[in-house]
């Protein structure tokens, strides 16, 4: 029983992390129907950005978590946003009217490029790097279940930010513009919405969330490596698909489901943790085949 509870807790924390990344996928897909394959790498780059920020701090500031931690978040987010904006402007925007495969292949290229760039140019990035100990230490013990405080923080941030995002998109003027562009870019344009601005903004929102996720990832797990983006990116993409691409709520719920599948499959399914990824991919394939619109998406109408 306590194992189950512990695994559920682990799953929820993983889900919270995946949710932050999945939102970026789902928003971009909702607007321009692009699987932004490189979004996972934005998350990875943000993590290194946060670490770099810490490294650059003067020594006395490093010792004060109250200063260092917010600065790391800022650093991570700034790097993520910069990368995302550059990527959108120079890689994706010129291809907006290209055949469908072109932006997808570009996204793949961006992904490989970012990962390699960090590996080659970030000092010692060839192996895992430790994350600074400025995060709250220790853990919350509920009976036999142990939850690190950083995990609690991660869940809080993830749920909080997705609620804010959902509200913003539903209530604000820009949010309406986003939804309009997602529905019908041409009409939205006629209504005076600048699609370029909306798209850039979408990328920025995704990057901010990925930035938070990147820094929190380091804080929660104490170590980062250049492969974290690819792996978690795939999980996040699966979550977005599971929830129904384009749906904010769906992405978050999908992410928690994926987190739980991973930990529970590792615990209870045959093959154990060796095959926990495999189950996620199996779920992905099953969802795509049997409910391609996801749990919360509308069935797609055929355009003729």
């Amino acid at each position: 029983m306590s194992v189950l509870l512990q695994q559920l807790a682990n799953g929820v924390i993983q889900g919270a992390l995946i949710a932050l990344i999945a939102l970026g996928y789902t928003m971009v897909y909702g607007i321009i129907q692009l699987i932004n394959f490189a979004h996972g790498e934005v998350f990875m780059v943000a993590s290194y950005g946060g670490l770099a920020t810490f490294t650059l701090l003067p020594d006395d500031l490093k010792k004060s978590p109250a200063v260092a931690l917010p600065l790391m978040f800022v650093g991570g987010i700034v790097v993520a946003v910069l990368v995302a904006v550059i990527m959108e402007r120079f890689a994706y925007r010129p291809l907006r009217n290209a055949p469908r495969l072109a932006p997808l292949i570009t996204a793949l290229g961006v992904s490989v490029f970012l990962q390699e760039a960090v590996r080659v140019w970030y000092p010692n990035a060839t192996s895992n790097l430790p994350y600074p100990k400025v995060f709250p230490e220790g853990s919350l013990s509920l009976g036999s279940v142990n939850i690190a405080w950083t995990g609690v923080l991660l869940v809080g941030l993830s749920v909080g930010l997705s609620v804010i995002l959902q509200t913003y998109i539903n209530k604000s003027r820009m949010g309406r513009a986003m939804r309009a562009t997602a529905q019908d870019p041409d009409t939205a344009k006629l209504m005076g919405v600048n699609p370029d601005r909306v798209i850039v903004l979408t990328f920025i929102f995704g990057a901010v969330l990925a930035g938070v996720a990147g820094v929190m990832f380091g804080g929660y797990l104490n170590n980062i490596n250049i492969d974290m983006g690819f792996q978690n990116g795939i999980f996040a993409f699966t979550a977005a698909v599971l929830g129904g691409v384009g749906s904010i709520r769906g992405a978050v719920i999908g992410a928690f489901i994926i987190g739980l599948i991973k930990t529970l499959a590792g615990q209870y399914m045959p093959g154990g943790t060796q095959y926990d990824y495999v189950w996620i991919f199996v779920v992905l394939i099953l969802v795509l085949v049997f409910r391609p619109q996801g749990l919360f998406g509308e069935p797609e109408r055929v355009r003729a």
């Binding site: 306590s2 194992v3 512990q6 695994q7 682990n10 799953g11 924390i13 993983q14 590996r119 010692n124 060839t126 192996s127 895992n128 790097l129 430790p130 220790g138 853990s139 013990s141 142990n146 690190a148 990832f217 929660y220 797990l221 104490n222 170590n223 980062i224 490596n225 250049i226 492969d227 974290m228 792996q231 991973k262 930990t263 590792g266 615990q267 154990g272 943790t273 060796q274 926990d276 990824y277």
Partner: protein
Amino acid sequence: MRQHSVKSAAIVGAALLVLAACGSNKTEGGGNNGGSCDTSKGTLTVGVVAPLSGNLSALGIGIKQSAELAVDEANQKCTVKGYKLTVSAQDDEANPAKGAQAATKLSTDPNVVGVVGTLNSSVAQTVQPILRDKKIPQVSPANTNPTLTRGNDFLTAPKRQFDNYFRVCATDDLQGPYAANYLVEKAGKKKIAIITDGKTYGAGLAAELSKQVAKKGGQIVGQETVGEKDTDFSGVIAKVKALAPDAVYYGGEYPAAGPLSKQMASAGLNVPLMGGDGIFDGKFIELGGKEGDLATSVGAPTESLATAKAFVDAYKKKFGKEDYAAYGAFSYDAANAIIGALAKTIDGAAWDESKRDSMLTNVGSYSGSGATGEVKFDQYGDSTNKVLTVYSVTSGKWKDVQTGEFTG
């Protein structure tokens, strides 16, 4: 559009030129001339096959540079009379097919006297036969899979596989059981959980350990595998924690082991983590290795070996930092074995391909004291250096707690 690309090409070109425009290093970099040694007979090459690009390049570059260090020293000391030595490093991309290509490239060069490499056992499998056909000795700094030297039934019916293949590192069937003895007999940990990264090194090590644990009356309570690129181990830890082990043995390398240890502690699983030489690295502690964690390593403790310190100092002097990585010292020893054997083979005469047979014999009978201890090979090509040391993390540093030979 075209205008743009012309412009940017021009800018890039200009930038490159400006970057390069730091005057001239006309006098620098030519230090390979071997000082005052006689190099009249030409140049001979020590090949290196290792991953120089991709994820494993840190290890590969450590191997390459350590071999370069050995060659430089030999050039300075005029170890090989009449010849200048160089290193030719080939990238195998950790891919067996590319490894074969790299080996072919080296094997077609008559001046290649020996090859240091590979890192991956799977790459070694393709490299071995190619070099054997040309009778080029291959000394691996890092392959720990016992089948490479002694075949599939390495315990029951060992049989030499390739007479050109040697290695200076310890095999899994030595290190694993030694660790098992320590855990069960010395530390009294009867219930042991195993986690591996599923790669040749880690899985092999863990397999040998578990056999010995059972022999000594201990119990393997569970076995889990994590992905080699994982960073989050919470699922595995929760699973292992439920089994209430006395210790966790991790078969793999420090990048995952450090965080694993740390996450074990924060998940409330406060038992020592033990691993092989793959986790015996300062980075393990940096990444979260905790007090009381254990590791085995080949040879006697470094502090007690003047040769090891000398290697580290020389490496730092040549390359500026200590990035020789896990297998640097082994690679240095491997290169020195080749150089030593070459010096003996040539012995004032001239190199030609007819000398390859005696070169093989001389590598086999090489004996020297290297950065990892005594370097010598047994009848299978394995290192005879069977001295192992158990280290423990004590006040933020690795400290040796037991040194000895595995005796069964």
